[in-house]
């Protein structure tokens, strides 16, 4: 069966979507990623969609599901490289990808993940009060 490869780099999982995703492929990626997060104890997932010419509601929902499932499994997700035409279309479609963190490119995406993981690590040593108001990674 056709699959999208998932690369492991340290505690990061990297996915580059390079094909026009049919629905089954998107669902398989969702299942594979959740399994790999658990089996590799990954803390972060980066999904590069710069090759995707279309993100419809099904693919959008899959990206949202992946972000939500990763979060439950204690991993952060960032989606990078969305094409401008895709972003314009998604918003008009009515899909703002709430709950999915995005970054312009792979480099920025890695920065977001690093900062987010560092904050989580530091947060464990701070009191809840100290963290209040500094959480810049609120959902949205």
């Amino acid at each position: 069966m056709e699959r999208i490869p998932i690369l492991k780099m340290g505690d990061h999982l990297l996915v580059t979507i390079q094909v026009d995703m049919h629905d089954r492929l998107a669902t398989t990626l969702q299942d594979d990623l959740t399994e790999r997060i658990v089996s590799t104890h990954a803390r972060a997932v980066l999904i590069d969609i710069s090759a995707l010419e279309v993100v419809d509601s099904f693919i959008g929902r899959t990206l949202g599901n992946i972000a939500a499932m990763s979060r439950i499994l204690d991993a952060q997700t960032v989606v990078v490289g969305m094409r401008p035409a895709v972003a314009i279309t998604l918003v008009e479609l009515g899909l703002a990808l709430k709950g999915v963190r995005t970054a312009l490119n792979v480099e920025k995406g890695m920065e977001v993940l690093r900062a987010s993981l560092a904050e989580t690590a530091n947060g464990a040593w701070e009191s809840d009060d100290a963290r209040k108001g500094t959480d810049v990674h609120a959902e949205g």
């Binding site: 026009d20 049919h22 629905d23 089954r24 010419e53 279309v54 993100v55 419809d56 509601s57 099904f58 959008g60 929902r61 094409r83 401008p84 035409a85 895709v86 314009i88 279309t89 008009e92 479609l93 009515g94 899909l95």
Partner: protein
């Protein structure tokens, strides 16, 4: 208004949704749509093709490249012989779905098109037509 060419594609499987996207993209490029216009009509086509498959049990899409005065258009007509939609107003509402989707298909496709029409008869099927003009 004249039709430059037309073609009908079958929508019977999830793979056909990908084929519909690819053919619509090729036609939009041929009509010299901008990248954003291409992306919009391809995305709308993807939503409607999935509806035809998931709710209509499969069907067809007829593509037509149109010329009217100085403007060019791409019209897509999706038809199925499924159960039909009991409440069209409700089906058009964002967030309403009887399936497992997000309920953005019809409303989203309408927003992504210049013209939109839907006709559904219970027990007979559904026909959705969209056109994007440039």
């Amino acid at each position: 208004m004249s039709t430059l060419k037309d073609e009908t594609l079958a929508i019977r499987s999830a793979d056909d949704i990908v084929v519909v996207r690819q053919v619509v993209r090729a036609w939009a490029i041929e009509l010299r749509f901008s990248l954003v216009d291409q992306t919009k009509i391809v995305t709308a086509a993807s939503e409607l093709a999935r509806n035809t498959l998931d709710y209509g049990g499969g069907g067809t899409v007829r593509l037509a490249a149109l010329l009217e005065g100085s403007r060019r258009g791409l019209r897509l007509v999706f038809e199925d012989k499924g159960p039909g939609i009991p409440d069209l107003a409700l089906a058009m509402k964002d967030g309403y779905t009887t399936g497992g989707g997000l309920g953005l298909g019809l409303g989203g496709a309408k927003r992504l098109s210049s013209e939109f029409s839907i006709d559904s008869r219970l027990g007979e099927g559904t026909r959705v037509a969209i056109t994007r003009w440039i």
